[in-house]
Chain length 609, copies 2
């Protein structure tokens, strides 16, 4: 036993006790003949006092930052209590101590805030993990996983472990693969998700399955996307959409209550995909603030007469004109407005410009005064429900791009106005996604373009849309508009859970009957043979009595970051990879030696183009 | 909502209720105008009754085995109650039903016992998993994982997820590797265990870590060894061996209590490695029965005069003579004894023969009567503490092989005598393993042969053996016997948990101080540079304040099999691989297409020799 207590445990009621502590030296301060040492472990910090007699020993065995020591002595009440520390009422008067291990001076400070740069901290991740914020993050992550398990267990879910060495599928993102030594020239793949396994477990009758499980995607990495990530993966049998939504918003309420002490709404608000796109410009609206889009003109349909036939090409020629109202924004300076204009012109946003209307008490002033009469400006103000003192911002262009830009601008303004608070949580369900997307790049015989699945091809349509799917051909005859095709209106029986503008989970009710599944494959242009080749054993399994089922998967890394009020997923993963997919600490990936390659029956490809 | 209750839920108190059930058709029986259907789900089986009126409907929508149906009606008390079913007091009189999905006739029966062969069941694993024994196994596995988490959580352990895409190391078993697309000609490795990460987490101050985690080893597969397996991985800081043993035998008591309703002893018995080898012939003794080895002669040292200078070459020339006593075995027939002799002569055992002594009331009768006088036989009987009616079996040969054979023979006899009961659990700790093994194949300059680490090179010696290690050179000078070298007696601060003759877990206190670690590397013939190359970042981490720490890892698949009273790990894994490392259901591994290989910068090696 190296210790009788942890460094976070001692209280005033322990005064007088003889104790032994062990931990890391956080700080050393000398006051005359006394030395004070802050001793740290996972549980907290306790102040050690080396009195004059002990001080001599300290000179023989000098301490330094991050030394691991063991100290024995009596607990006494502090004269100058530290109310910021749970142990701040007491200190340990050291009577005996040992240096258990020395430490080189760390390359950055191990404190709440550090002076280390990103790369250095990644390389010395084991030291960065000593810092209180990262310790808190990983402990939060642990509490979150416990809360998830606790809830799902109460709901009758069973965790079943699914394999990691599986088969590569041509669908979806790229697989990471593993050459087989025992089966030459054959490869396993690492799972992008346990999707097929959880559906098989429903066929097996497990009824309610979950797993907190690592998944792998070999995608080009964007900021804060990891090649391996953790998913809360769930599936239920004999359920309809409503059952799934209730179970999993219940889970999220439980997790937020347990981990963050926050009560989420009961029930969660729900919004159709159409409404989300119309009002927020994207399918994961941040509901912490309003500032909805105003749809002045959409796909050449004018909703606000103020922008109809203005004589101003920017508006008249635009397929779509959208507006945002910035409350109190009429006081924005010319410079601020120019800066916002530059912001929307950046390539990531890609707009041509930004029109504005200042709603002042006496008049409406626009950047397009030449074309927009006071009457038009009033019509726009009225349409947008803007008040005196507000600023109206208008974007014009093709619908998809303009909507996307307006959504981004809304988030940016929300950020600047401080409306996206870290400790406010606004969840919702987004429902009724289109089941299909139109692709003009691929065609089927007798069709101009074709339908592609928005989700995976086992996603069921909404029950009321099944007849439209069964009864109609998926072909889009030449000379017709795909938007008028019956399939354009078919909605998926799918759902996304969104919190604070981030998609934290998504899933669907699955197709489990053969006739509908065959229709789906036909719509996607897959012959029964091709379908069987791609989804072989799962389709086979479905022939032996598949129950109606549906499920959902949550991105656990992101959920933890949201719970911790952070945007940085990486800070909630113990050993993350950098943006090039490298582990800086391990220096992985790394070359293999020739013997290993030979054993695996592979060689390195010379032509690196 | 497809159901109001599960198929395991209805009781007599529900009689009169209108309910809806959904599940699989297990059995259909017709009695005159009535039809009885057993409806099955994960929770149980409920009997459905189709009365005469409904029977007509059944003719229009005929049911078959494994059809998924939904049935609605009233719960009534059964006249012929079935006491073997929790729902056996009631039945559901069907008033309405729907076939949710049809099913092809399964290729084997979905019952407690099945008629399907191994291969067929592996290929249709999703159907085999419907059978009650496999459902029970996976539910047991889930309960076991919950019990583990529950206990470790109470003990202050934190689950931390470690990466799967790591760096290949030249030590240990073969790694599975993953070519990197973004880092051409470089490879990740899948972890054989999170060993280095858990030690890093101790350096990071996480104090108590655990993880239930998948591990990977690309070894040649033996029966019931899987390329991917699950480990309960644990590590603690500021502990000595005693602390670790107490925490983890506590865990095992908790798990057995929760999952199997079994009380394991408190404390667990402990046995040194020397004693285990001496008394049981191996380091994982099955303590469900006695029948210890009797060491008549060991490495030419005679312990029982009965076998000294007998004139019988088999005994006199043997380095070691061991005996086992079969209680009541004097009645074994000639044929039975011949069969046992053949058994020890099989190549897996590799003995030349088996001597026996029948201890009969009137006389001792031996297969070597010519050399073994009655006096000698009495000396042997006395040494072995054999009673009248017992049988003494003797093996002779080189110590290692003879001990191994005697251990195998002991287990075989225990099995035949029914002494290895599935529902009896005998745990123990095996301690004080040798830290080093002698290798005559490799040598260091100035040494004849050299020492190799029995465990990994971070395993600490027992504290009292540290001086012997620090103060002595690892070199074995020519002309000296390695068995007399001080390193031969150094014991590791390591521990294995054994239950019923199976190693369920093992671990050690780690070396955390640089001087000792350097001595260890020197003993293993690694220069500081070589050591740094092999264990780079971990050694680096140890320089920044590593606490004393130790840990353990349990094989979770095997633990579940033991808890379930089975020898077959595969039956406790949802989707196992066969002995060739193939997933028969997925048909994985499988070839990749050329485009994928190209993206990964690898090609297939032509020379397949």
């Amino acid at each position: 036993m190296y210790r009788t207590h942890t460094c976070g445990e001692l209280r005033l009621s322990d005064a007088g006790k003889k104790v032994k502590l062990a931990g890391w030296v956080q700080r050393i301060r000398k006051f005359g003949k006394m030395t004070f040492v802050d001793l740290r472990d996972r549980y907290g910090i306790t102040q050690l006092v080396f009195t004059e007699a002990m001080n001599q020993l300290l000179e023989e065995k000098p301490l330094n930052r991050e030394y691991v020591i063991q100290a024995q002595g009596h607990v006494v009440e502090r004269s100058n209590k530290n109310p910021n520390l749970p142990t701040g009422d007491v200190e340990l008067v050291v009577e005996q101590f040992d240096i258990l291990n020395e430490a080189k001076t760390p390359p950055f400070t191990i404190e709440e805030d550090t002076d280390g740069g990103d790369d250095l901290r990644m390389r010395y991740r084991f030291l960065d993990l000593r810092r209180p914020p990262l310790q808190r993050n990983l402990l939060l992550r642990y509490r979150a996983s416990r809360a998830v398990r606790e809830y799902l267990d109460q709901q009758g879910f069973v965790e079943v472990e699914t394999p990691f060495l599986i088969k590569s599928t041509p669908e979806g993102a790229r697989d990471f693969v593993v050459p087989s030594r025992m089966n030459p020239h054959q490869f396993y793949a690492l799972p992008q998700s346990p999707q097929t396994f959880k559906q098989l477990l429903m066929v097996s009758g497990f009824d309610r399955y979950y797993q907190i499980v690592r998944c792998f995607r070999d995608e080009d990495l964007r900021a804060d996307r990891q090649p391996e990530f953790t998913q809360i993966d769930c599936e239920m049998s004999f359920v309809e959409q409503e059952d799934v939504l209730q179970v999993f918003e219940g889970m999220m309420r439980h997790v937020f209550r347990q981990v963050a002490g926050v009560e989420l709404p009961d029930p969660f608000p729900r919004m159709s995909w159409d409404e989300a796109m119309w009002k927020y410009g994207n399918d994961k609206p941040d509901l912490r603030f309003g500032m909805c889009l105003h749809n002045l003109k959409v796909r050449n349909q004018v909703h606000c007469p103020g922008v109809d036939k203005t004589g101003f090409g920017v508006l008249d020629q635009a397929e779509t004109v959208l507006a945002l109202v910035v409350p109190g924004g009429a006081i924005y300076t010319r410079k601020q407005l120019d800066e916002l204009t530059e912001w929307v012109k950046r390539p990531q946003i890609g707009m041509q410009g930004l029109l504005h209307i200042r709603c002042q008490a006496d008049a409406l002033k626009s950047s397009a005064d030449k074309y927009l009469t006071q009457e038009r400006l009033q019509q726009i103000q009225q349409f947008c429900d803007a008040k005196s003192g507000d600023l109206i911002l208008m974007l014009a262009g093709r619908e998809d791009r303009t909507r996307k830009a307006a959504a981004e601008l809304r988030l940016e303004l929300g950020e600047r106005l401080g409306l996206r608070q870290k400790d406010v949580f606004k969840p919702l369900w987004v429902l009724d996604f289109p089941l299909f997307e139109y692709s003009e790049e691929e065609s089927l015989p007798g069709s101009v373009g074709r339908w592609v699945a928005r989700h995976h091809p086992f996603t069921a349509p909404r029950p009321e849309h099944i007849p439209a799917m069964i009864e109609n051909s998926p072909l889009i005859p030449p000379g017709t508009d795909y938007q008028d095709h019956p399939y354009a209106g078919i909605k998926a029986n799918a759902y996304d859970m969104v919190i604070n503008g981030q998609e934290v989970g998504g899933g669907s009710i699955r197709i489990f009957r053969r006739d509908l599944q065959e229709k789906m494959f036909a719509a996607l242009g897959l012959s029964p043979e091709e379908a069987r080749q791609k989804f072989g054993f799962l389709l086979g399994a479905f022939e032996y009595g598949a129950p109606p089922h549906g499920g959902i998967a949550f991105g656990f890394d992101r959920l933890c970051a949201i719970l911790g009020g952070s945007d940085t997923i990486r800070d909630f993963i113990a050993f993350p990879k950098n943006n090039a997919g490298r582990d800086m600490m391990l220096d992985a990936p790394a070359p293999l030696d020739e013997a290993q390659l030979k054993e695996l029956h592979i060689c390195l490809r010379k032509d690196q183009n």
